[in-house]
Symmetry: C2
Subunit: 307 residues, 2 copies
């Protein structure tokens, strides 16, 4: 069974690991968000693509929860001492990857091609595709103005209430090579348990990707990133309350109108199933907390069972 | 006494440390070679400027003989694993500096301004000036063609015999801001014990710098990089033999016709003094091996005594 997962970073990456185990690596194509890409110290950083890459390569730091394991911080520490940017945490091994990618991009290699090379070099057998090779950047509206995504997310620790999101460049963005083909050939399309507004909607902001989901002939299943009205990490619940009026599974389903056939929700949210189904979306209640490899795998199996 | 030192990297940096102690840091201006600057992984690396900077900041790795002390290599190791360039050894702390500089240069800041900021951030009280802010690159002619400097020096470990050197961009290069003023205000000009062909002549290839030395009204003293016909490190002796017909102090003096008043040579080369003086250059025989802080300081004192 060929599976395409639309994914953000940390939670999405972890989910994809389970999906690799459940479906087999060659059956999985991950379409990753690039709206949170950022230029730091002249390096092109793709946090979500890298989180998926590190997760599938087995290189993630599971304790810290982001970035690479066995990391050191000497380059950034030096840059900071020399007056360089240091607000965005980049470890030395992570910088090694960013150097290779930034250099390739400056030479004109598309992001999708660099990403494929990096994945191959790290032994990843699934395909990791950026949603687009074009420039697409998320901006977050807050009281008093608009912030570039990472300025809000990392720089201000997403403490400003969100008034809206905007995906600069989305109008002109084309899907990266392979994305349309993967969606057309998929037996199952999955929306990872990622933040709808800042991980998934920037992917769906690429018109051809959204259109591919709209005309799908196979099931599209989303996994709710909420457990008991809370996100495991990050501002998903806060954003849903601010932008959708609440942080219930139905608000997640409401982010994907006409695009998903089923929403996988956690046992803790079983009572919210009816509100999801009232939207015409099947609610599937299973444990969704990926606390260990077995739980991760069980979630992926439950999703595959919906194909 | 105001001193300007024209300097290459390792030996020059070490010499400048002695000169700071002998003359006082505020009295010293170092004009550094940029002919061996190189772009690696999209980073602008200025090996000679950095060697001087690290030496004066007390950050040099004295055991390895180049780069920063307490260095790690995780970024480059990662880049190599991902198919990136790794022929030019860059440590993580070193990369932190290169990231700050490359980013500033891409934003249009001149190399001299970045260098001043880096030196200030590292507490260096002497001035470190690149010979020029313009692009000037050393190429080495070898049998069968020409190699970019670092391709020859690091990439091929300078094993190809040198047929000549060329300084691309020298014709159009202007001295960096402050270089002309420093030379005009100097009480003593010193050519560090660096390789004439690849460290000093690229500086003198900037016409206005050469002209400033030609019209000097103060002594210009060169320190021979040879001890007993050998260089402490690097290809100076080989290059002198190939390009000047021998590796004696007189061949060093011959690299600077009309530009130096005295050549400091090592005790081991005392017998070669007459040949130097036959060129109209005073030969000053002292110990030149900077084996420790005391020897470094004594050499600087001997040079200052020639003012």
């Amino acid at each position: 069974m060929r599976v395409v997962v639309l994914s953000g970073g940390i939670g999405g990456g972890r989910f994809c690991v389970g999906m690799v185990e459940a479906a087999g690596p060659e059956r999985l194509t991950v379409v990753g968000n690039v709206g949170d890409d950022v230029d730091v110290l002249g390096l092109h950083v793709s946090p979500d693509l890298d989180s998926v890459l590190y997760a599938l390569a087995g290189l993630s730091d599971e304790v810290r929860g982001w970035g690479r394991a066995d990391e050191t911080w000497n380059a950034l520490e030096t840059a900071a001492a020399l007056g360089g940017e240091s607000w965005f945490r980049l470890g030395d091994r992570d910088i090694g990857l960013h150097l290779v990618r930034a250099d390739a991009l400056r030479r004109g290699e598309p992001l999708s091609a660099v990403t494929a090379r990096l994945a191959a070099a790290l032994g990843v057998r699934s395909r990791i595709l950026p949603a687009t090779d074009d420039r697409l950047r998320t901006f977050v509206a807050v009281a008093g103005g608009e912030l570039a995504f990472q300025e809000w997310f990392v720089g201000r620790q997403h403490r400003d209430e969100t008034l809206g999101v905007r995906f600069e460049g989305a109008d002109a963005a084309r899907p990266a090579p392979g994305v349309g083909e993967a969606l057309a050939a998929a037996d199952l399309i999955v929306v990872a348990p990622s933040n709808p507004y800042i991980s998934i909607l920037p992917i769906l902001a690429v018109a051809e990707i959204r259109a591919a989901l709209e005309r799908r002939r196979v099931p599209c299943v989303a996994v709710s990133p909420l457990i008991g009205g809370k996100a495991i990490k990050g501002p998903a619940a806060d954003m849903l309350r601010a932008l959708a009026g609440g942080a219930e599974p139905a608000h997640v389903a409401g982010c994907y109108p006409g695009l998903v056939d089923a929403l996988v929700i956690d046992d803790a949210d079983a009572a919210a199933a009816a509100a999801v189904e009232a939207l015409g979306v099947r609610a599937v209640v299973v444990p969704t907390l990926m606390r260990d490899a077995a739980a991760r795998r069980a979630l992926a199996d439950a999703v595959l069972a919906l194909a």
